[in-house]
Symmetry: C2
Subunit: 231 residues, 2 copies
């Protein structure tokens, strides 16, 4: 049983980390452990819930038994791909949430972004082969909400600096810890084009991070793209 | 066209505000305007999105035309009951989120609460006759996330004082503005029993607010009730 606690999507292959494990360690039984779990809070024993996902139910149960305790509740799931895609793609939306913070937007607009963001994550994830309901769980909606609101999120902080006018390359060059949302945006954008999925939020974050698009222009394009009926 | 901007569920009748309007003003065409919209931010022209819901499509469109502008984006919807139940029931979960804040819990546990909270809101709402997808929209998930995280939420603040050890009656007696979550908890609890729907979060908030249950005990009961598989 090999447990992955790494979030991301490999460029070109479009593989999540369990997919990479399957390629590189053919005898491994991969488990993804993912959810709304800021490390500092886990370290301080503050109540936290997380998902252990594996196509192999026994491997998921083993992981649950090893890590579960009163302040770190481990739930099992079978849709490992969905759990991993939720954990990876939410970082892109978190960059967008941070941009709003940098521009001085408030909680109302962030709530709207989260609502649209989980729809977009689900759409891309389902096209890639995940189960739709997984994105309503801890590793989808839960992790998205946490990352967009938490002061501790590096991805949100990256967006906040973009929103205040810094350039992406300068932020990355001056950061000790790399925000996962930066490379994930590139992989997600590539994946969305391959699968022909509409991803307006990912597209604008990509244009900001990799094509030098102006922040205010990106936000205008994002909001003007939305339709008039909610569903 | 009569637009309701009031959130709540009438005790005994179980009616939302559009239902009350239908009873008291039989010729009205009720519209519910609801979503993640802290008034202070709307007043400061910070970008906000909201839903105008009505069974009468023309009434929803009229409302959209009257209120829509660049920083206050109005989307239309037809599931007025779902939009209203999302806006009302989220206040109960926000009280629970505030209790976590008062007890010094962190962002991880709040993210888990939001994830479970929207499932519970959807389950009760669907039993009452609403459409399930409505609760993934601005007035469901969006408003829930906002209210649970915002410093401006009166319902979250009510929970925070409970979490710090104050008694419900004392808080309500000393508050100028009534937190909607207080009466809504009573109506939601009654509605859930009538419709025979499992609502563990609402039940514990009810026990805290109306039965004098100990805060720490309520939280223990809530977490120990959860199952081991995520779905």
């Amino acid at each position: 049983v090999v447990v992955s606690v790494t979030k991301g999507i490999e460029y070109d292959s479009g593989l999540t980390m369990s997919g990479v494990l399957r390629t590189t360690m053919p005898r491994a039984r991969p488990v993804a452990l993912s959810g709304p779990t800021m490390a500092m809070e886990v370290g301080h024993d503050i109540p936290t819930a997380i998902v252990a996902a594996s196509e192999d139910p026994e491997a998921a149960l083993t992981t649950q038994q090893v890590f579960h305790r009163a302040t770190f509740r481990v739930y099992t799931a079978s849709d490992v791909l969905g759990v991993e895609l939720g954990g990876a793609l939410k970082n892109v939306v978190a960059v967008a949430a941070g941009i709003g913070d940098g521009l001085g937007f408030g909680d109302n607009s962030k709530a709207a972004l989260i609502t649209r963001g989980i729809v977009e994550i689900r759409r891309l994830g389902v096209a890639r082969g995940a189960q739709p309901e997984t994105f309503s769980g801890l590793s989808g909606l839960g992790d998205l909400a946490l990352t967009c609101y938490s002061r501790l999120s590096r991805n949100r902080a990256l967006g906040e600096r973009l929103g205040k006018g810094e350039k992406a390359e300068a932020i990355v060059a001056s950061s000790v810890a790399v925000a996962e949302g930066y490379p994930t945006t590139r992989s997600a954008f590539q994946l969305a084009r391959k699968l022909d999925v509409a991803t307006p939020i990912i597209d604008e974050v990509y244009a900001l991070l990799y094509e030098g698009k102006n922040v205010v222009k990106a936000l205008q394009d994002l909001t003007s793209r939305e339709s008039k009926a909610e569903q």
